[in-house]
């Protein structure tokens, strides 16, 4: 079996691309570096948009990254069903690109929040959460300043009704996100955005434990199954 090629995008100011690539490899995938300025997805079968501060978070988090040449390829590919996981800044970019509903705004308490965060996986029917059991509780790091998920009441109702809330905060909402939302999916389930960082929690050596690896094994399993 050839490991599926999973791209990890580096923007100017990305921080977590190395950890995301490491997580892809730990899950059995081949990590493929993608460069923001190259309009080339390099035949990858899935893409991770990592955390960080693309373009210094100028204007709004993700607002400038959304117009990078690579995004000109990625947006139509996502609309055609390419699995995309946006983590933290990656989630912000996906919202700015309108691939996901709503937006990420300044934490309600105006403090940077950095801690291990307990989550409940609310949907296992996305490309990135199939490896988890229904309602699984996991602990992964959270670290953000603009992590408060905001959307209209209608959008939240729609997300809830369609089972598109992918993960919810447990043990205290770290940033004031509406309905304790930590992650959401698009209608097709191939695009997922997540504020906490599963790529920092893939083994017992670093981070709070291995709970985050499931996001990456989910994609690898989906892609291997699709190829078989």
């Amino acid at each position: 079996m050839t490991p599926p090629r999973i791209g990890v995008v580096t923007f100017p100011g990305s921080l977590d691309d190395r950890d995301a690539a490491r997580a892809v490899r730990a899950a059995g995938g081949e990590s493929v570096p993608l460069w923001h300025a190259d309009a080339d997805l390099r035949d990858v079968a899935a893409v991770v948009l990592p955390g960080g501060f693309s373009y210094g978070d100028y204007l709004r988090c993700g607002a400038i990254a959304r117009f990078a040449p690579l995004m000109g390829e990625l947006i139509p590919a996502a609309q055609r069903g390419l699995p995309i996981l946006g983590i933290c800044n990656g989630f912000q970019i996906l919202c700015e690109a309108h691939l996901l509903a709503g937006a990420l705004t300044r934490n309600a308490h105006l403090r940077f929040r950095y801690r291990p965060q307990r989550l409940r996986i609310e949907s296992t029917s996305t490309a990135w959460t199939g490896a988890y059991g229904d309602g699984a509780e996991i602990v992964v790091p959270i670290k953000n300043m603009e992590g408060r998920y905001a959307a209209t009441a209608d959008t939240v109702r729609e997300l809830e009704a369609d089972g598109r809330v992918v993960a919810r905060y447990l043990g205290g909402n770290p940033n004031g996100s509406i309905a304790d939302i930590a992650g959401i999916a698009n209608a097709a389930g191939n695009v997922v955005g997540l504020m906490p960082h599963p790529e920092h929690a893939i083994d017992d050596v670093y981070g709070p434990g291995p709970d985050g690896l499931g996001f990456f094994t989910s994609a690898v399993t989906t892609l291997v199954g699709a190829a078989a």
């Binding site: 204007l59 709004r60 607002a63 400038i64 117009f67 919202c95 700015e96 309108h98 509903a101 709503g102 937006a103 705004t105 300044r106 934490n107 309600a108 308490h109 105006l110 408060r148 905001a150 959307a151 209209t152 004031g176």
Partner: protein, 112 residues
């Protein structure tokens, strides 16, 4: 050349913790009576005459503002007030921004 202003504000229903923090700081200056503060962004664009108002609105709608959470208003330096169907009222202090800040903008040719 003319000068165009774009004001971007969070939609009224979106919590603005930055504005709240500013409002909470005012009593420390001995100022009372300010009930609410909303913080926004003010952009100043120097544009050629070939840049239409429609283009400026496109810039505002796609990049300067995120229409999911923010409203914007566009004004040119020759306008007495907002030039478009702005979705939030101008605040009391905004008039100052309409005054040309350089001699050049005061004499520049305006778009129709």
């Amino acid at each position: 050349m003319s000068r165009v202003f774009v004001d971007v504000m969070l939609k009224p229903e979106i919590l603005d913790p930055q504005g709240q923090a500013i409002a909470k700081a005012l009593p420390q200056l001995g100022i009372s009576g300010v009930r609410d503060v909303r913080a926004g962004k003010h952009f100043v664009l120097e544009v050629d005459d070939s840049v239409t108002e429609e283009t400026v609105r496109r810039i505002a709608d796609t990049l300067l503002a995120n229409p999911v959470i923010e409203d914007f208003a566009v004004r040119s330096s020759t306008d007495g007030g907002p030039s478009t169907d702005q979705r939030h009222p101008p605040s009391a202090g905004e008039g100052g921004a309409q005054r040309p800040r350089s001699p050049r903008s005061g004499v520049a040719d305006r778009r129709p």
